[in-house]
Structure formats: structure tokens, C-alpha cells
């Protein structure tokens, strides 16, 4: 028996053009059909603010808004985003001005290492747009799909509740 000496073959991946809007900008991108939205955002568009945590839909760090709904971008194929409107953390501040949630998260010291922060901010943004006057329990439920190991969540909850009441700063500390 002779050993095969040729190199193993790689089957070229199938690619497709998609068009989608990210943070208000229209992109035409050729994507590998197997790539997730998370990978295309980070690797092809350079939008690394969307974080890869577990890559299997359990931690929420990669949350983006797809047509306004928070979704784990690691669970969506990029081709499924064709024709959709995506908001990532880079699109949350407008004209150099922070979104009230971003302001509140800084002012309440709701973040520490910052790795889960983009995902929580986008989840909270979509949540407050649908539930402008939530209870504390509502807020906790809304961000229960976003794991944070640094903060204990209390400050995120306080920051989100404050924004729902039109505030971005704690009363005292």
C-alpha cells in the first residue's frame, strides 16, 4: 500500500453577496455562507465592539439589534442579515453624543471590565423602547440573558431604571 503524498484538499467555501445596513450605513459584502453575523461584523467590517464571549448563544456578549430586536449575533448566519437593519454598539452614540443609557452606565459605575457592556447596553436599549416604564424585576428579566461576572448587576439595573425615569446620574454616592 502506498501512502498518499498529495496535500489534503480544501473544498472552497460558497460565498454570496449580501446587502444590509449597519448603524445607518449600507454595506455590500461578499460573505462565506458559513459565517455568522458576529464574525462578519468583527472580521470583515472591523466592528469589534460586538464581543465574542461563548460563541454559542449563552452569554449575550455579542448582542446586536436586528431590525430593532436584540439577538445573539453568534447564532445568526450573516446571509440571514441580508436586507436587515443592524445596530451595533458603535452605532449607539449619535453625533459624538452618548446615548442616555451609555451615560448612565458610566455614571453609575455599572461597568467594570466592559466585555459584557455592549451586549447589555443594546439589550437595554431595545427593552426600554418597548417598555418605557419598567419595574426593577422587568429590568432584571430583560438582561437575564446577558452574563456579567464583574458587577453583580445591581448597578446596571439602577442605571437602566434611572434612564427610564429620564435620569442619567445617581442621586448620591
Amino acid at each position: 500500500m502506498t501512502t498518499q503524498q498529495t496535500a489534503p484538499r480544501i473544498v472552497p467555501p460558497k460565498r454570496e453577496y449580501i446587502q444590509f445596513t449597519v448603524n445607518g450605513i449600507i454595506y455590500d459584502v461578499e460573505v462565506d455562507l458559513r459565517r455568522t453575523l458576529l464574525e462578519v461584523l468583527r472580521e470583515q467590517l472591523g466592528l469589534t465592539g460586538t464581543k465574542k464571549g461563548c460563541n454559542d448563544g449563552n452569554c449575550g456578549a455579542c448582542t446586536v439589534l436586528v431590525n430593532g430586536k436584540p439577538m445573539n449575533s453568534c447564532l445568526i448566519l450573516a446571509v440571514e442579515a441580508h436586507g436587515k437593519e443592524i445596530t451595533t454598539i458603535e452605532g449607539m452614540a449619535q453625533d459624538g453624543k452618548l446615548h442616555p443609557l451609555q451615560e448612565a452606565v458610566v455614571n453609575f459605575n455599572a461597568l467594570q471590565c466592559g466585555y459584557c457592556t455592549p451586549g447589555i447596553l443594546l439589550t437595554a436599549k431595545a427593552f426600554l423602547e418597548e417598555n418605557p416604564h419598567p419595574t426593577e424585576h422587568d429590568v432584571r428579566r430583560a438582561i437575564a440573558g446577558n452574563l456579567c461576572r464583574c458587577t453583580g448587576y445591581q448597578r446596571f439595573v439602577n442605571a437602566i431604571l434611572a434612564v427610564s425615569q429620564g435620569k442619567t446620574k445617581p442621586d448620591e454616592e
Partner: protein
């Protein structure tokens, strides 16, 4: 004392970059021509590596190189000279499921992953050992041939005549408590990027203490320290879990050296949760004796640390455990034996709060049970035995500026004790625990902290220092200290990234040391810059340099504030007219003595925080589910530099210990394969589980700390595990002896208790 910036909850330095997604972490870094690395891991818990054939993988288009353990120089590394037992990758045999065996660099991640499948490794399986019982049995398989009995490290102490002391006790309680392996639970996966700069390696990524990584990595790779430059991007959490060099660091460095190209190696969560560092599981026999009135008199504790294939930081673990038993309570006679056992499981190391967290848990558990058996009040017994200011603890530590007693009294008011005791609700419980945590105890290597304060010619300030911003807020706190010492607004301070070329390396981010040690280094450097500026200002204001004051950017003569000049003007004149660029240099270190690892004695530390915590829980008797209702802590961290950041540290640390208390465990099957290495099966607390926090800082004193600060990172949360377990025991009337306290164990305990009551 009235400070301009210290003591204020100013917004974090890293707040804006983190909320806008601009902050770059290890996995975000890209360099031109970058290759992707992947690690091939052992599929057996214990196996001899007979041969590795990478020829087929090497022919895969896109593969640049493949390295194995034999490509490293064969120099072992480890925490102490006597515990150097690890090589970068497995060479002759693999000692745990997932140990690195080979690594590949390829043009993209898919190709690298495919190449792993083409590497053929022939293994000869050896019998594994997974538990302490198996590992210490006579004739057990040895994990390391030169480590008889599978003992990796032992620490012992013996204070007083222990046998006689127990005879003198009126009541003795004995318990056997066990705790489980947990993972740090990083949301950010480890990611390292190595690249070449001439003959030097530039290594950047997810490291908590670059200095520690740097020393050990250079040793194991036989590289001079000057040939490796470490840079730190933002780091997604440290939790004591990113100190020593891991396979990912070695792989990136070696692959870059071999290929000459930048190589990034990113791990996945199943590698991190299942195969990287974890907390030792512990088997603890503990015996506590007291006099009739509740005065503690004797303690005996033997603990086995099951820690996997390599000792890693275990001497720190045994020390933290042993010393953690003797502070904050007065126990005049004590004997401890901590034995660190090798098994064929992933190596354990430092985890948030250290083994001290477990020592505090076992001691607070047995103390609570002893008090209940003796009919004594939980807070009274703690008051009675609390070490007080300037008292000498049994192991010799002088409790300088120690305010533990004050925290008990403050907590008593906060929870309205003992009135709250009278309002006992069925299946509701309250538990207490305390601690006195060192503000940085000495480990290995150099122990000083240093900084450079560089004043730019337009009056801006670059703070160059070596402490890593891992989320704890060190950039912010150190900038506050710098601004206060220099008399400029906080906003003027820019904090540089840690860089082994540009900054003086900080010893490490551990043991709640950064605020005090690095903070003092920064303070001294800022004072040096201020002294230089005062000389220049004195010339301009025709005054004595000693009389020059700095506050929030104004420079003026003391007692004559009208004679003033702006900070910028002083700087400008110094640079342009005197040829005097202003660089303040400073370092700080106290002679803390050497650490005595064999006797688990903690060296002196410049400050000691203290805490008393109460946790309130409810238990659902139908489902066994624990709900943590509220955590209340009275604590002394000296003068908080930033109260909001300190509170954030307390809340996060506490919640992590809650995970260990009631949820988390790294589980493996009968072959040592991890069975829950993902966040679906490895249950960490979510926002719905997290409790309400009520913290009250008592501003204690610390003449050693910058502006009177003490360490705060772990010093409060270290009491949480004990308080949670005690609260559950109070709620259900039974002590669960093994962590985590899961609903199954609670239901079993409740049912057992009820059938016992029926029989009685």
C-alpha cells in the same frame, strides 16, 4: 481630611471607551499578515505520548507550522523553585484531559482547526486519579514519578499545646466540609497575540499580571527578559485567573518565533471552563473548641487541596487558607495542615479571593454551628472573639489599624439585630461572617511598585505605571491619587497601557494590593514631579519652594494665595526657559519580610481591611431553591479613593462567591472529560439571581495607604460564601456539608430532618 479628588466617585477613566465599543481586547487585535493558532489537546486524562506525526497536517494548504512540546527547551516552571513541575506543553505524557500536546499556526482559524484533526498522536493510556482518596491510596498511580504519594505541597503550623487546649474546652464541634472546583467564569475568552520586533517577541492579550507571566514564560522558554515585551490591551476580567503563563501564551509566543509572523491564539469557552485553571476542590476536617462563655480556645484543621496535574500557585492557596483561619478571630491554640494533592485533572490556581474565601467559609460555618449548639448569639460570639486594634494574632500578625469590632457593631445596627432574630419566618434565614483581608501580602518576585509621572509641555499628565486595568478600576483610582498628590484636576491625567518597555512593572494584581502598593508608587512619583514644579514656581513667585501649594491646577503661595500662577504656566516656563522637562519618578515598597510558605504565615501587609456581612435568604421548601434576598456589609477599607468603584468590587466579588455557594461546579465524567464546559450547563448567577446589596463603609485609618486607603478588591466579598452558607443553614435548620448547596441537597436535607423529627 478634605480631599479635592480622593473620596469622590468620579467617572471611570475607561468608561467612555468601554460603552462605545472602542476598547480593544486581546481577541480584537489584528496585525498585517497575522496567522491564527490552535492548540491540540490530550483526549485522555493520563496517557503516555508515544509518537506525534504531524506530516499530514503540515501538507494542508495554509498551514505554516506545527509545534509540539519538544520544541520548547524543556525548562520547567512553577511558583516556587521547589514546585517547578510544569512544561509549556506535555512532552512525555499528558496529565489531564485537555493538556496541550501540539499547536498549529495557519492562515485562518478553519484551516488551523482542520490541521488539528490531521495530527496523529499515538497515546498509551495510563490509569487516571481523580480524587484525593484515589491519589493518596498506597500504590496509587503517580502523576509525577518524582512526587511520592502525589503530594505537591504541604503547609503546617502548630501554635500552643493543641491536645491540652482541647481538654480545656467546655464544648467541641467537629465538621467535615467539602468544596468544589469552580471556574473564574470569564466572559472574555483568553486571546494572545504574539509578534516579532527584530529578535524580540511582543506579546499582548488577556493577562492580569504581565510581570508574573513575563518572568515564568521567559524562564520556561529560556529567553532573556529583555527579549520579550509585554503590552496590555483592555482585559475582560481577571478574578485572579490570568497571572501565570498558560498554554495559550506559550503557543502564541513559540508560533510567532518559529514563523516570524504575528500569531493570535484564541481559546473557546469549552477550553477555558473545562481545561484551564480552576479553584482547588477541598476536603476539610475542622474541629473548634470553646469555653462555656463562647471564648474560642482551640482549632484544628486538616485540609486536602485537590488541584490537578501541576502545583501552579498552590503555595499561595495553602497559605491563604491557613492564615485565613486565624484572622479576624482570636484562637490562641491552633494546628493546621494543608496538603496539596496531584490528580489527573486540569491544574488549579488562584481564583478570586483565594483559598482564604474557603477558609473563611469553613471557619464561619463551624463557628455558627458551635454558637447554635451552645445557645449563644451569632454576633455576640463574634464580638467576644474579635481581634482588636493592635492585638497580636496567634500567627504573629499585629492587627494595626484593625477595625473589625467596629464593623460588627455597625452591622448590628444595619440589620437591626437582635430584634430581627425574634421575627423568624419559616424557611427564611440570616447568616453572618467576617474577615480581615490583607492589603497586599507579599508573594514571589520583586514586591515594590513604581511609576513615572510625565508632565507634557502643555501641562498634560501622562501617568506611566504597571498595574493592569482588568475592570477593577485601577486606572481611575491611580489617576485620582496622582491628581490629588499633584494638585491638578482628575481630567488632566492620562493613564498609559502597561508595557514592559515603557513602564516599571507592577508586581501583580492580586491580594487587594493595587490601591495601596501601586497607589503609593504613583503618589511618590507625583510628589517628585510636584517638588520639581515647586522649585520652578518658587523662582517665578519669588517664594520658598516649601511654601508652594498646588490645588486643582492652581499654584500659589501658602498664606498668600493672591501670589499665584497656573499649573500650565509653571510647566511651560520649566520646559522653555529652564530646559527642565518634568518627569516625576517614584517607587514604594515596605520590607514585609519573606513569605514563609511552609508554615502558611502571611507576611506583613501595609493595611488590613475588615468586614462583617449578613446575608438573608429564603428557601422554597417545595423546590429547594435558594433566593438570596439581601447582602448587608459593614466594612473598613480605610479612606475609599472612589466609593462607587469600591462598592462595585464588593458587589461583583460577592456575587461570584454566591455562584460557588449555590450554583457552580466544574463537573467531569468517569474519564475526566468536562461535562459542563459552557454557560448553559455551567450555571453562573444572572441578573435575576443577584441580590440587593447594602454596603456601609466605615472610614478607618491606614497610615501606610495612599491618603489612608486600604485594599478593597477582595476584602469584603471574602466573607460572602460563609455568610450565604450560614443563612441557608439557618433557613432549613440543617448544615449542608458539601458545596454547592443545590436544590437537590436542600430537599434531601429537609426531608431527612422532617423524618428525623417524626421519629422523635
Amino acid at each position: 481630611m478634605e480631599y479635592a479628588i480622593v473620596g469622590k466617585s468620579v467617572p471611570r477613566k475607561d468608561g467612555w471607551v468601554k460603552v462605545t465599543g472602542q476598547a480593544q481586547y486581546g481577541g480584537d487585535l489584528i496585525l498585517p499578515g497575522m496567522l491564527h493558532g490552535k492548540i491540540l489537546r490530550s483526549p485522555h486524562a493520563h496517557a503516555r505520548i508515544v509518537s506525534i506525526d504531524a506530516s499530514r497536517a503540515k501538507r494542508l494548504p495554509g498551514v505554516r507550522t506545527i509545534i509540539t512540546g519538544k520544541d520548547f527547551p524543556g525548562v520547567k516552571f512553577g511558583f516556587l523553585p521547589i514546585t517547578r513541575d510544569q512544561l509549556p506543553f506535555a512532552v512525555d505524557k499528558a496529565r489531564y484531559f485537555g493538556e496541550a500536546v501540539a499547536a498549529v499556526a495557519a492562515s485562518d482559524e478553519d484551516t488551523a482547526e482542520e490541521a488539528l484533526d490531521l495530527i496523529q498522536v499515538e497515546y498509551e493510556e495510563l490509569p487516571p486519579v481523580f480524587t484525593v482518596q484515589d491519589a493518596i491510596r498506597p500504590g496509587a498511580t503517580l502523576v509525577h514519578d518524582d512526587k511520592p504519594g502525589n503530594v505537591g505541597f504541604t503547609a503546617r503550623y502548630n501554635y500552643g499545646d493543641i491536645a491540652r487546649a482541647f481538654e480545656e474546652c467546655d464544648y467541641i464541634k467537629e465538621e467535615h466540609l467539602t468544596t468544589q472546583r469552580i471556574s473564574h467564569g470569564f466572559i472574555e475568552p483568553h486571546a494572545m497575540l504574539a509578534s516579532m520586533d527584530g529578535d524580540r517577541v511582543v506579546l499582548q492579550g488577556t493577562k492580569q499580571s504581565p510581570y508574573i507571566t513575563w518572568r515564568h514564560l521567559c524562564r520556561a522558554m529560556d529567553l532573556p527578559l529583555s527579549k520579550v515585551r509585554m503590552l496590555n490591551p483592555y482585559v475582560g476580567g481577571g478574578y485572579s485567573g490570568k497571572h501565570d503563563p498558560f498554554d495559550v501564551d506559550f503557543a502564541a509566543t513559540k508560533l510567532a518565533l518559529v514563523t516570524g509572523r504575528p500569531v493570535r491564539v484564541e481559546l473557546t469557552q469549552d477550553e477555558i471552563l473545562g481545561m484551564e485553571r480552576q479553584r482547588h476542590s477541598k476536603d476539610c476536617w475542622i474541629k473548634l473548641g470553646a469555653k462555656k462563655d463562647g471564648t474560642l480556645h482551640a482549632l484544628e484543621c486538616k485540609t486536602y487541596f485537590e488541584g490537578g496535574a501541576y502545583v501552579c500557585a498552590a503555595p499561595i492557596n495553602t497559605r491563604a487558607f491557613g492564615s485565613g483561619l486565624l484572622i479576624p478571630y482570636r484562637i490562641p491554640n491552633a494546628r493546621f495542615e494543608g496538603i496539596r494533592i496531584y490528580t489527573t485533572r486540569p491544574p488549579c490556581g488562584a481564583v478570586r479571593g483565594q483559598a482564604r474565601v474557603i477558609a473563611r467559609y469553613v471557619l464561619e460555618a463551624i463557628l455558627t454551628d458551635l454558637a447554635n449548639d451552645m445557645g449563644l448569639d451569632q454576633l455576640e460570639i463574634r464580638r467576644k472573639n474579635a481581634l482588636v486594634k493592635d492585638e497580636v494574632a496567634t500567627e504573629g500578625t499585629v492587627m494595626e489599624n484593625f477595625a473589625f469590632m467596629e464593623t460588627i457593631d455597625e452591622l448590628k445596627k444595619m440589620v437591626d439585630w437582635p430584634a430581627a432574630k425574634a421575627k423568624k419566618v419559616p424557611f427564611h434565614g440570616i447568616g453572618f461572617a467576617g474577615d480581615g483581608y490583607a492589603s497586599g501580602s507579599r508573594a514571589r518576585g520583586h514586591w515594590a511598585s513604581a511609576a513615572v509621572v510625565k508632565i507634557t509641555e502643555d501641562g498634560g499628565i501622562n501617568l506611566i505605571q504597571g498595574a493592569t486595568e482588568i475592570g477593577q478600576g485601577s486606572d481611575t483610582v491611580l489617576a485620582q491619587i496622582c491628581a490629588e498628590a499633584l494638585g491638578v484636576p482628575y481630567e488632566e491625567i492620562s493613564v498609559a497601557v502597561e508595557d514592559t518597555d515603557a513602564s516599571v512593572l507592577e508586581q501583580g494584581i492580586y491580594s487587594s494590593r493595587t490601591t495601596v502598593w501601586a497607589g503609593n508608587g504613583v503618589r511618590v512619583a507625583a510628589e517628585d514631579a510636584r517638588r520639581q514644579l515647586a522649585e520652578e514656581a518658587a523662582k517665578l513667585l519669588e517664594a520658598d519652594p516649601k511654601d508652594i501649594e498646588f490645588r486643582l491646577g492652581n499654584v500659589y503661595v501658602r498664606n498668600d494665595p493672591k501670589r499665584s500662577i497656573t499649573f500650565n504656566e509653571v510647566v511651560r516656563k520649566a520646559y522653555y526657559e529652564q530646559g527642565h522637562p518634568i518627569y516625576g519618578r517614584g517607587s514604594w515598597g515596605m520590607d514585609a519580610g519573606r513569605a514563609d510558605w511552609a508554615t502558611a504565615k502571611e507576611p506583613w501587609s501595609p493595611g488590613r481591611g475588615s468586614v462583617t456581612m449578613a446575608v438573608e435568604v429564603s428557601v422554597d421548601p417545595e423546590t429547594g431553591k435558594v433566593k438570596i434576598l439581601k447582602l448587608t456589609a459593614a466594612h473598613d477599607n480605610g479612606q475609599p479613593i472612589n466609593p462607587a468603584l469600591l462598592a462595585g468590587q464588593i458587589e461583583g466579588g460577592t456575587m461570584a462567591h454566591m455562584g460557588q455557594g449555590v450554583f457552580e461546579e466544574c463537573l467531569t465524567d468517569e474519564h475526566g472529560r468536562p461535562i459542563n464546559p459552557d454557560f448553559f450547563d455551567y450555571k453562573m448567577p444572572t441578573a435575576l439571581d443577584a441580590p440587593h446589596f447594602a454596603n456601609h463603609p466605615i472610614i478607618g485609618d491606614n497610615p501606610y495607604g495612599p491618603f489612608g486607603a486600604k485594599g478593597g478588591g477582595e476584602s469584603v466579598s471574602s466573607s460572602a460564601l460563609g455568610a450565604i452558607a450560614n443563612a441557608v443553614a439557618d433557613a432549613i435548620g440543617v448544615r449542608i456539608m458539601d458545596l454547592p448547596i443545590t436544590p437537590q441537597k436542600i430537599l434531601k436535607a429537609i426531608n431527612g430532618k422532617q423524618s428525623q423529627e417524626r421519629r422523635a
